[in-house]
């Protein structure tokens, strides 16, 4: 293991984050209860949408479950930016950065943490949704594709917010930006309602929103089957999004000490 410092460094930083997660039972509890609250609220509030002509399914839950999985990825990416800020403010990051640890490992460890905790939430959403009668027509394969797509989305957003935390080194800009972008990212996508029910300009905006590409790739897995076209586009767009995020975060790490 010592011969592969990159893997070891990544593993070390992932384990540290997971340890913090499991040490905060209240946080872990909220993390897992949050999907339940969203599911109950949204399926009640938007129930009658299914009565509209051309709505893709007769169950809003069936429609919303994949949208919620994507929505939660957006929310949780925000949290990770704040976790990084904690390390910055307590002077931990500075001490870490003067060790020979690989910078990409620090980013990758965080990114894997987002993926692992994301998978936990996906599991919770699926279990509750199935219990309430939803189905996933593509089965286990669909779950794996969902995990990949949602992780790429989370990786890009986490990295960008992390880069912002590294530059700003203060909590206020992070709160401001995260409040500013979270809801537009979700509402300018088809996570909650189908695109055809929204005005033209919203549909145009969706084309520039990575969140929408995740929803488009994931939703058919629940409703109709593999939409390889949407999955392919999703992988390309979100892959580029994730790589761009990581490159920007690495740049921010290098400039951190200035």
């Amino acid at each position: 293991m010592t011969r592969m410092p990159f893997i070891r460094d990544t593993w070390t930083s992932l384990l540290r984050l997971l340890r913090t997660f499991t040490r905060s039972p209240f946080y872990a509890f909220i993390y897992l209860v949050q999907p339940l609250i969203w599911l109950l609220l949204f399926t009640q509030i938007f129930k009658s949408l299914t009565a509209l002509p051309n709505f893709p399914t007769s169950s809003y839950l069936q429609f919303f479950a994949p949208g919620l999985i994507v929505t939660l990825a957006v929310f949780n990416s925000n949290f990770t930016g704040f976790a990084l800020l904690n390390d910055i403010n307590f002077g931990v990051l500075e001490k870490v950065l003067i060790t020979p640890v690989n910078r990409y490992s620090l980013i990758l460890g965080t990114v894997l943490y987002v993926a692992v905790t994301g998978v936990l939430q996906i599991a919770v959403v699926l279990i509750i949704s199935f219990a309430l009668g939803a189905t996933l027509v593509t089965g286990v394969g669909g779950i794996l594709v969902t995990i990949v797509i949602v992780s790429l989305l989370g990786i890009g957003l986490t990295s960008l917010l992390g880069a912002l935390a590294l530059r700003a080194k203060r909590v206020e800009p992070l709160i401001f930006v995260s409040n500013l972008i979270t809801l537009p990212l979700i509402f300018l996508s088809s996570a909650l309602i189908p695109a055809y029910l929204t005005p033209d300009w919203v549909q145009t905006a969706m084309k520039f929103n990575p969140v929408n590409y995740a929803v488009l790739a994931v939703r058919p897995l629940f409703l109709t089957g593999y939409d390889w076209n949407a999955i392919g586009v999703g992988l390309i767009v979100l892959g580029a999004w994730a790589v761009a995020g990581i490159v920007i975060a690495e740049f921010a790490f290098r400039r951190f000490g200035d």
Partner: protein
């Protein structure tokens, strides 16, 4: 024994912030292997920026540095292997135990599991944290956090240990302990580079020191050499406390009165009075008092001392660091010699 090797050499090291603020200005310095070297200076003098460049946290704008034969710009990663860095803040992770936190750094230094265990035990012992090792850092006191923070800087047995203000904000007892640790580390052949704005700290600990002001070295030498540059005695006068403006006027008036006197070599204002530099202190006190009281300037206290690093500092920077420590000298009626150091 051959000539001592330099572990740090800098050549015109410069850091310019936002295109104009020259935090460090063409700094060239050589630090020998095995010594305790102090960078002394007022806040904002460029001490922290200098060491941040040396520990690879910040890139120099120009100039270069060689650490243990490695070029800082080209071999940053190798440099990181051999240094330990203790920052001003007690940077710790409250959600980890002391041992876990040390393990994190041991792992980032790529030590094997056995070495991490052994070194953690050693540094926990040295920092007197063995009993608290498995408690969450969130339960540690401020002094314990600082000691743990120092412990993390030692985990890789660094050849060069860099301390940024090792005792800033610590209570007296913890400060004395940290001094002991630093002396202990020197015995183990670690080179120590530290910044401080406590004169006493440099005087007690450092083999050599550099006084930095405005990003440049203004004086360099052993504490004794630097003190030796100021010959004779220092008569420190305290004037009664007044409104700041009025006090400054009185101090200036006193300075004007004393400067022309033949036995006076130099006069410098301090926060609450004046330092008068003379050849022979005891014979100078009566004429000083005579001159001042003849002009209606009341003297509240007189202290006769040998030149200290304080005086060296004032000589080179035109400022005193005394304000930051609060005025320990109060209204002392008579002549009370401070222990000459």
């Amino acid at each position: 024994m051959g000539p001592m090797k330099n572990i740090i050499e800098t050549f015109n090291l410069t850091k310019v912030y936002k295109g104009k603020i020259r935090a460090v200005d063409n700094l060239s310095i050589a630090i020998k292997e095995g010594e305790i070297f102090g960078l002394l200076g007022p806040n904002g003098a460029g001490k922290t920026t200098t060491i941040r460049m040396l520990v690879t946290l910040t890139k120099p704008t120009s100039g270069r540095a060689v650490i243990d034969g490695l070029d800082l710009a080209k071999d940053a990663r190798k440099v990181r292997e051999i240094i330990g860095y203790s920052s001003q803040e007690a940077g710790v992770d409250e959600n980890a135990t002391g041992r876990e936190y040390l393990g994190l750094f041991g792992s980032y230094y790529h030590l094997d599991a056995q070495t991490i265990k052994r070194r953690s035990d050693e540094v926990l012992e040295l920092m007197e944290l063995s009993d608290a090792a498995d408690r969450l850092i969130g339960t540690y006191s401020g002094g314990m956090r600082k000691r743990l923070e120092i412990a993390t800087a030692l985990i890789n047995q660094p050849k060069l240990l860099v301390f940024d203000e090792p005792t800033l904000g610590l209570d007296v007892q913890t400060r004395l302990r940290v001094w002991d640790y630093i002396r202990q580390l020197k015995k183990e052949d670690t080179t120590i580079l530290m910044t401080t704005h406590y004169l006493e700290e440099t005087d007690k600990l450092c083999d050599r020191l550099a006084i930095i002001d405005h990003g440049q070295i203004v004086a360099l030498g052993t504490p004794d050499e630097l003190k030796g540059e100021i010959r004779g005695d220092v008569v420190a006068l305290t004037l009664p406390l007044q409104e700041p403006d009025q006090q400054a006027k009185t101090i200036e008036q006193a300075k004007q009165l004393l400067t022309p006197q033949s036995f006076v070599k130099d006069v410098r204002a301090t926060s609450d009075g004046l330092n008068v530099y003379v050849d022979e202190g005891s014979s100078a006190v009566p004429p000083i008092l005579h001159t001042l009281e003849g002009a209606g300037v009341t003297v509240e206290g007189i202290t006769l001392t040998r030149p200290s690093l304080d005086d060296v500092f004032i000589k080179y920077t035109g400022r005193t660091l005394r304000e930051e420590k609060g005025t320990a000298r109060g209204a002392l009626g008579g002549v009370k010699p401070r222990g000459g150091r």
